[in-house]
């Protein structure tokens, strides 16, 4: 099978002002296979970045003219995966918190055709302060709603940005209106549409540069969006595929 022998994998790295680890991610991914390509989507960061060093080897770079959010960045990655006939797509955050060395483990169930979506569930995801408390509350709420909507089949970490998908999952999720922070809805929708969702436990690295984009205000917006999207999902016809 072509996929098993030389799968074309697109590793999507969205970034907003996080540039310190991009070269490291590109180098690490290039070591796995010559068929893996990194797609860096710069979400209109105000910080200047010279993409020339990143474009050497097997990586692609696109800067959005304005900050449009993770939803548009993800749709660009989905479009490119489908148009350029990549077999799989993985997502890694640019802040260096995701263990890139675990990428082969994330992709293994997809390559073995045992799953359509693989979630890198973080085991040590903690934040401090009010934002941390709010984040923990929202995470717990998402998990509770997710379990309710999927009859307990949703993964334990619905907020992780470390995940991988095959073309079947991308085709389904690309039909959605994808907004900022789309991960919980991806996984809930995948479970509701009976896609095979697998989970790989990962240890998240400590953030060494910059700070989380998730402020209290952003968390509240995220909470509102999630509830609206869940309501829309519930009002849609029950999935039959």
């Amino acid at each position: 099978m072509t996929t098993a022998c030389s799968p074309k994998v697109l590793v999507f790295v969205p970034t907003y002002n996080d540039f310190e680890f991009l070269s490291e991610i590109v180098d690490q991914v290039a070591r796995f296979s010559p068929h893996y390509k990194v797609l860096i989507v710069n979400d209109g960061s105000p910080r200047p970045l010279d993409p020339a060093p990143l474009l050497r080897g097997r990586s692609l770079y696109f800067r959005l003219p304005d900050n449009a959010g993770l939803g548009v960045c993800t749709q660009i990655a989905f479009d490119h995966t489908l148009r350029q006939d990549y077999h799989l797509m993985a997502r890694i955050d640019a802040d260096g918190q995701h263990p890139v060395e675990r990428l082969p483990e994330l992709l293994a169930p997809l390559l073995a055709d045992e799953a359509d979506v693989v979630v890198g569930a973080r085991r040590n995801h903690r934040q401090s302060g009010l934002a941390g408390w709010l984040s923990a509350f929202i995470k717990g709420y998402y998990f509770w709603v997710g379990r309710l909507l999927t009859q307990g089949r949703c993964p334990s970490d619905l907020n992780t940005g470390f995940f991988a998908l095959n073309r079947k999952a991308i085709l389904l999720l690309n039909e959605m209106e994808i907004e900022r922070y789309p991960e919980p809805l991806f996984f809930i929708k995948a479970c509701r549409y009976r896609l095979r969702v697998a989970e790989v436990g990962v240890e998240q690295n400590q953030r060494r540069f910059g700070q989380s984009s998730l402020t209290v205000f952003q968390a509240l917006r995220m909470f509102y969006r999630f509830n609206m999207a869940v309501l829309t999902e519930l009002l849609q016809k029950k999935p039959t595929r």
Binding site: L39, V41, L55, R58, L60, Y61, F62, L64, P65, D66, A68, V72, Q75, I76, D79, H80, R83, Q84
Partner: protein, 121 residues
């Protein structure tokens, strides 16, 4: 006096269209709103009728309600237009990304075939 105010506002909207600051299509809700205001200000019977229909005891409050209704309609209309524009903006961004990334993919393929050719040579 009330009619003069409505005519002044209508002229303002018209001059905004003429100077190109207000889009012709988007000006229609403003004229509809002004027409409603003109109707409300020109005829007391209209206000009394609205107050009677809505069960408002103090009839002048019906004017406040009409104005709120107009403002609500305008805001909803403008929010829909903003959402459509946002959607179109995102579609354009995706199209731009598609073109740019396809170019980079093609360049990558050419470079790979050039390297292979050099190796063979």
């Amino acid at each position: 006096m009330k009619i003069v105010a409505v005519i002044t506002l209508s002229l303002m909207v018209y001059f905004l269209i003429r100077s190109g600051k207000l889009n012709n299509d988007l000006s229609l809700p403003w004229f509809i709103a002004l027409a409603l205001l003109a109707l409300a200000s020109a005829s007391d019977r209209f206000i009394l009728l609205v107050a009677d229909l809505l069960g408002i005891v103090y009839a002048p409050l019906a004017i406040v309600l009409i104005v709120l209704f107009i403002l609500f309609g305008l805001i909803i209309f403008l929010t829909i237009v903003c959402s459509q524009l946002r959607h179109r903006q995102f579609s354009l961004m995706r199209e731009l990304a598609r073109l740019e990334l396809e170019k980079q993919e093609q360049r990558g393929k050419h470079e790979t075939s050039d390297h292979q050719g050099e190796r063979r040579a």
